[in-house]
């Protein structure tokens, strides 16, 4: 029955059906007081129900193109995609395999073993997003959601200073200095990172629900980094079905945020082992259902003594890997002396 498709509680649905309102067309020309009397509910509840009754004026028939409200043709989206700028990761090799950097309107998941540099990459992106567009950023603020407590402010300052030095050096070389452009000090980078600390999964879900309203009020936020998305869901969860439902609901909300406000969402994830094809393999945490929650996925791994980034999932990029290094100045291209230190 069509009334079953309304987003109202099961009890209200039962009342509607037993009063004889089994299809949406019966609701369309009804007054709230009439409905409230029929169902024995308050008038506010009746108003809520009638809000969802179909309105017939939703089809836009102008211009011979019967476009349903909210749709876009592929041709328009092609032009929009060409205009989208990306956020550089400060490593030219990684930017190359990503087609320029982390893209907006998409959810990117980055996973890897501990110590590979996930938090470093998250911090680098939170700093880089604040750069002006001609330097590879978006001129916006960053939201950093920390679930593990691995955000080190001193490190952020260090990376911001290195970034600022690079920007100065580039400007001096290319003679592109606009008057007063170099007004951004390293401390300003810190001011534009909005930091949230969550300590349980309920806080995490509440925060992600709240982000919609928060970002409507802070429209210059251009990236949301969650480090890490999986931490609070891995331990002590008795009801796995509930976990799956919560995670998939959270994934949809993040997708909606990315699309609605045209920002990039970066999720950092941990790894676990999986038994497949007769051996134990490393795979990202939270299982198969979560692995569908992102648009792109980048896996960071060790190859010998060097760090590599590999594109595991993308709708439009080829699978490729690129080396990178974690230096005192942040994420950079790999040069031969930035390798893993072997503990003797």
């Amino acid at each position: 029955m069509e009334v079953g498709r309304l987003p109202i509680s099961a009890a209200l649905k039962g009342k509607l059906v037993s009063a004889g309102y089994t299809s949406l067309s019966l609701l369309s020309s009804l007054s709230p007081s009439h409905l409230a009397r029929d169902l024995n509910i308050s008038e506010n509840e009746a108003l809520d129900i009638l809000k969802h009754a179909p309105h017939d004026g939703r089809i836009d028939t102008s211009g011979g193109h019967h476009i349903i409200s909210g749709a876009q043709t592929a041709w328009d989206m092609l032009h929009e995609e060409e205009l989208l700028t990306r956020i550089t990761t400060s490593s030219v090799d990684i930017d190359n395999i990503l087609g320029g950097g982390i893209s907006c309107r998409e959810v990117t998941e980055i996973g890897g073993v501990p110590g590979i540099g996930k938090t470093q990459l998250g911090i680098q992106l939170a700093v880089n997003v604040q750069l002006p567009v001609h330097c590879g950023g978006l001129g916006g603020k960053a939201i950093y959601i920390d679930t593990e407590g691995s955000f080190m402010v001193e490190r952020v300052l260090q990376i911001a200073e290195a970034c600022w030095d690079d920007m100065l050096a580039n400007n001096a070389i290319s003679q592109n200095v606009h008057a007063g452009q170099v007004g951004m000090q390293p401390k300003d980078f810190l001011e534009n990172i909005l930091y949230f600390r969550v300590c349980s999964y309920t806080e995490q879900i509440a925060l992600i629900n709240y982000l919609d309203k928060f970002i409507s009020e802070h429209r210059d936020v251009k990236i949301v980094v969650v480090d890490s998305i999986t931490f609070h869901f891995r331990q002590d969860f008795e009801d796995m079905a509930l976990r799956t439902r919560l995670l998939s609901g959270m994934a949809l909300k993040l997708m909606k945020l990315a699309k609605k406000f045209c920002l990039a969402v970066v999720l950092l994830n941990q790894v676990t082992t999986k038994y497949a094809e007769g051996s134990f393999q490393l795979t990202l945490a939270l299982g198969d259902s979560w692995s569908h929650a992102c648009t792109n996925r980048i896996i960071l791994y060790w190859n010998g003594n060097e760090r590599y980034a590999y594109i595991d999932k993308s709708p439009s990029l080829r699978s490729a890997s690129a080396p990178y290094a974690v230096t005192a100045r942040g994420i950079r291209n790999n040069v031969s002396n930035c390798k893993r230190i072997k503990l003797m």
Binding site: R5, L26, H66, I68, A74, L78, T295
Partner: protein
């Protein structure tokens, strides 16, 4: 299925006397009329003082009910409909077309399940490009994971139309790409809204005779259903079944092919099986399981369920960059 009270405005013969006569026997709506014993109601009516009016009223309600069901079709009508309207749409992928004996059939709902990064979105984009170009038809792409890539569609179209790696003419490219509409939905109720609008639009186009929509793709329907499935109460499952019945109705009445994607979960022995549970298995007409050879462009697809082809067959195909 209205209450008798509401029908009174349209049919004055169902006056308050008749309504109280029915109310005494527990009949308030047309639905109750169908459930209760008609014979005993007629016998009771004949014993009432105004039996003629009551008989007329009963006949009126039965007439209303008769007008509500779909017309009967016999085998010849169905065969004609199948030959005239329910053609196959090529997917642009030779291996898949071979497996499905031509491609996606209009009027049927096809499910494509596979683990993460196994090529489901790539296949959906390829099918959308092929249908838009070869069959000159409209494609409705409902995207739940921001994975619709117009750049990729343009690349596929260039491959299909000019294999000699020339560029397609911009005007032709624009016309073809304008027939692919993309909606982003992030919960199942928005999807219902989109499908309802689509239904009205298709009804309107059908009257005018210029219906050119061919394909609906939902990538992926499992991300809309998983947040509501399994909680206490069967609301989630009811919504899932309701969504599929709406899709099947659209497919059959307006001659569309429907392609939905699903993810996989771990099954017995670590072999991935399609998600969404046992009740989902009966809903799509055709079910396919996709997998990708590690790190390459070769894909394997096997047929889990089909109305007219034996299941268990498999095929390989390559999707080029």
């Amino acid at each position: 299925m209205a209450s008798l009270k509401r029908l009174e405005t349209e049919f004055p013969i169902l006056d308050p006397d008749f309504q109280s006569f029915c109310a005494l026997r527990g009949i308030f709506t047309v639905q109750d009329f169908l459930i209760r014993d008609l014979q005993s109601l007629v016998a009771d009516a004949e014993q009432q003082p105004s039996s003629e009016r009551f008989m007329q009223a009963i006949n009126q309600v039965l007439y209303v009910i008769d007008g509500l069901h779909q017309p009967w079709l016999n085998g010849v009508d169905l065969m004609e409909d199948a030959q005239k309207n329910k053609h196959v749409l090529s997917t642009g992928c030779e291996g898949m077309d071979f497996l499905l004996r031509g491609g996606l059939r209009r009027g049927q709902v096809t499910e494509l399940a596979g683990p993460s990064s196994s090529g489901k979105t790539q296949f959906c984009l390829l099918t959308a490009s092929t249908v838009a170009y070869k069959h000159m038809g409209g494609v409705i792409y409902i995207d739940t994971g921001n994975s619709f890539s117009a750049k990729r569609i343009a690349r596929f179209l260039n491959q299909i139309s000019c294999p000699a790696s020339e560029e397609m003419q911009p005007r032709v490219l624009q016309e073809v790409m304008n027939s692919i509409l993309c909606h982003s939905v992030y919960d199942i109720f928005s999807m219902f809204d989109v499908l309802h609008c689509l239904e009205s639009k298709l009804k309107y186009q059908m009257c005018r005779g210029d219906n050119d929509e061919r394909l609906i793709i939902i990538d992926s329907i499992s991300s809309l259903i998983t947040p509501i499935l399994g909680s206490s109460g069967s609301q989630g499952r009811a919504l899932m079944v309701s969504a599929m019945s709406l899709l099947k109705k659209l497919a059959h009445e307006y001659n569309l092919a429907v392609l939905v994607t699903n993810h996989t979960v771990g099954g017995d022995g670590g072999i991935p099986k399609p998600a969404l549970g046992e009740s989902w298995k009966t809903l799509p007409h055709v079910r396919l399981l996709l997998s990708r050879d590690c790190g390459s462009n070769t894909y394997q697809v096997s047929l889990l369920k089909h109305p007219s082809i034996a299941s268990g067959k498999a095929a390989k195909f390559i999707i080029n960059d």
